[in-house]
Subunit: 246 residues, 2 copies
């Protein structure tokens, strides 16, 4: 499993991803799922991936090595995309290219062609945007009404996002709430695990603000987990008992 | 969808079920999913059902009308079972009987034979117990280590159970925490909805303690929802912001 969340607020973008991959319970490993393509001042593009690791790694390779354009025969890469919208289309094309090569054989061997990605960032001259790209290569975008997107094991970590994230939430709080959402997911699904990679990008900076890996045992994250657990326990204690009588 | 939770603590048993059924988004109806078979002093057995409504209704009918015993030819019903363990086996047999009749045709028409049940209660002379019965008719039992079982849309409502329910939790608190778990699920999945049916049974009473339907707009449940939402928002505000710097 995997859990990645992207949050786009007025001040900027947060993306957080776990690193656990597993092929069954007895083959657990750590792989980076948060990838950053950055030339400060020109573009900062972050991609979080969920699904079959062979597929997501192949997509990352294609994004960098490029695809020959059908229009003018030139090789396009993630570095040549003129906007975030075009970058999202390009990620979709890369997924379709991997599907063309590997999809039929994968599905014949009862492995699924299973991939979803979050793509966030800004290209100079354009807006800071956040997309979710599906396995068919199509995509949706985060909006002011729903300023976050999730991929992977998304249910455990959704209630806190639903209740606490607004477009006007400040960037540090969005990061904190994203980490709580990740903690709730790790607590309930062993397929999601440490370390955690995160990036923040301030709107119109066209460069990352923070690029950090939360390692197991890090004091701040440990404290966040403890406080959140204690707060949940406390929260229900402050609610009166049911008045129902038999 | 459906959400039902059963909690077995030292003091007794709580079972809670929503009532929404849907065949697609445009065919929504209310059906009771929490069924009670009770003769005070002899037995109190509560059954919560998830899955295909035709299947669960057929199972309920069989539990009452009975199956002819393979051993002695007598008709057995839920009322003749001498223990909760035998009652759980009997529910499993009823599910297999419905599968024998309807399963192949259901699966040919691309509808799934999909059913899970929670069975809780006490038969005089035996212990108060709580089981989850699977579609294959086999079952597991709640224990002191994991004193709750869920069926249906279980992920949204699991974090609060994980953190707050212990075997020593008192019965009223178990009910309250169960209602919070139901609220979290309804907040995130429109397929789970009001009214909510609930039963509590005190250990060795061999009769229900509380049998109640929470209707939309009920003041206590409304207050619980508001307080829980406010507490979650407050909880993250009391956690310090991340100290990470770029």
């Amino acid at each position: 499993m995997t859990y990645c969340v992207g949050i786009l607020v007025r001040e900027g973008l947060v993306m957080i991803a776990d690193t656990r991959t597993n092929a069954g319970l007895d083959n657990i490993a750590t792989y980076r799922k948060l990838h950053v393509f950055e030339k400060p001042g020109d573009r900062v593009i972050s991609l979080a991936t969920a699904g079959n690791l062979a597929v997501t790694q192949a997509v990352i390779s294609i994004l960098q090595e490029g695809i020959r354009s059908e229009e003018d025969g030139k090789v396009e890469t993630i570095w040549t995309q003129p906007s975030m919208f075009r970058a999202a289309q390009f990620v979709g094309r890369a997924i379709r290219e991997v599907f063309r090569i590997d999809g039929p054989a994968l599905e014949q061997s009862a492995a699924s062609f299973d991939v979803t990605m979050l793509l966030g960032g800004q290209v100079a001259g354009g807006r800071l945007r956040l997309f979710m790209v599906y396995r068919a290569g199509n995509f949706i975008e985060a909006t002011e009404d729903t300023p976050y997107l999730q991929i992977g094991e998304h249910k455990y970590g959704k209630p806190i996002l639903d209740r606490a994230i607004k477009f006007d939430t400040i960037l540090e709080d969005a990061l904190k709430i994203g980490l709580i959402s990740m903690d709730s997911t790790m607590r309930s699904n062993l397929g999601v695990g440490m370390p955690i990679d995160l990036i923040t990008v301030r709107r119109n900076a066209v460069a990352h603000d923070l690029l950090h890996r939360v390692e197991p045992g890090e004091p701040y994250f440990h404290d966040l987990r403890e406080r959140w657990s204690a707060a949940l326990r406390q929260a229900h204690q402050n609610i009166p008992r049911p008045p129902y009588v038999g």
